[in-house]
């Protein structure tokens, strides 16, 4: 099932590719797909992507809600590699995201979540009712190496982005110090705080994106990107990134 909304003509789309839902233990329980979609519409976003930690189990509800709300959507997760670098990986379809999620689960430690310590991991339906609680501990690095995650994302037709590249924790910068330039990311994602000129020295020139990494509703719309896209798809975004056609807000 392809769930993105085909655009009648090329137009400028405003999008944020890094939003967490209530499945992420560290995200607010208010982050239900309906609430996320409502907030995204309020702040004027046209396209959004769901990136929960190491799991795409809320992708089905998210896709349904976005389609109802007239929002374009991509589906994925934020994977913690064995180096403790966070990478987001995004797909056109819910099915592809769920298959990637299964691959990630094979490399999660055999530990159960402790909701009282780490927070709840709610798997929800499109009407915001809770379907289940994910028992596996999602707030932990997988055994997959960074290079394996990048390769697997691309093999399955997804985007792979180095999340919050400027952050002092769980980023390519904090964990790996420098980049060689051949890591294969489609882009580096910058937080609202990033000084991109300072980061360029250590990380090199990469296509960039702003990502809200929203764990609360208020964070949605604090940063975004704009590009002229023929569709809100992995291919169109990859093309725009390669062509330098993505504008970041704030710049």
């Amino acid at each position: 099932m392809r769930v993105f909304i085909p655009l009648p003509y090329d137009r400028i789309m405003r999008f944020d590719l890094h939003i967490h839902s209530c499945l992420s233990p560290c995200a607010s329980l208010e982050m239900s797909p309906q609430a996320i979609a409502r907030r995204a519409r309020e702040v004027g976003l046209d396209g959004i992507a769901l990136c929960d930690h190491n799991s795409a189990r809320n992708a089905p509800a998210f896709a349904e809600v976005c389609a109802q709300a007239g929002l374009a959507a991509l589906h994925g997760m934020e994977i913690a590699t064995s180096e403790e670098v966070h990478l987001t990986t995004l797909f056109d379809t819910v099915e592809a995201a769920l298959l990637m999620s299964d691959w990630v689960y094979t490399a999660l430690p055999e530990r159960l979540n402790q909701p009282e310590v780490f927070g709840d991991q709610a798997v929800v339906n499109a009407d915001d009712t809770i379907n289940a609680f994910e028992p596996r501990m999602l707030s932990t690095p997988t055994r997959w190496r960074l290079c394996e995650v990048v390769a697997e994302s691309h093999r399955r037709g997804g985007l792979c982005i180095a999340a919050h590249a400027d952050r002092p924790s769980f980023s390519v910068h904090s964990q790996l110090g420098v980049l060689a330039g051949d890591e294969g990311f489609d882009a580096l994602e910058w937080t609202i705080h990033a000084n991109r000129n300072a980061c360029r020295k250590q990380l090199g020139d990469w296509p960039g994106l702003r990502g809200s990494d929203a764990h609360t509703l208020e964070a949605i719309g604090t940063v975004w990107n704009e590009a002229t896209l023929s569709a809100f798809s992995v291919q169109a975004i990859q093309d725009a990134l390669k062509a330098g056609g993505v504008r970041l807000f704030p710049a």
């Binding site: 180096e83 403790e84 190496r145 960074l146 002092p168 910068h173 904090s174 964990q175 790996l176 110090g177 420098v178 980049l179 060689a180």
Partner: protein, 121 residues
Amino acid sequence: MTLSDLLAACEATAVVAPDAQVSVSRAYTSDLLSDVMAHAPEESVLITIQNHLNTVAVATLVGCRAILICHGRAIPEEMAAAARSEQVAILTTPINQFEASNRIGSCLTTQGHARVHSVAV
């Protein structure tokens, strides 16, 4: 202390050892390479579990002479290849970073070298 001293102190195995007589006079313990880049001293051994290619790049940048990968983590082939080309030693040990820091610290103190720089992560 020499590479041979390090191997003996930490029950380590040499994966890449360009020169067994290379000597280290300091040590630094960290798993965050941004931190290593900012603080690790020259002529040191880096005690870490960060078994990534970039560990070699950062070690070369700051002048670390050896990398001790702790807790039995495997060395990826591209990391070993980079170390051979950069002439940086890579050792692996089953012991953890604390134990390795402790043992190396004792050796360096006995030999009158500078202190171990330790950073918790």
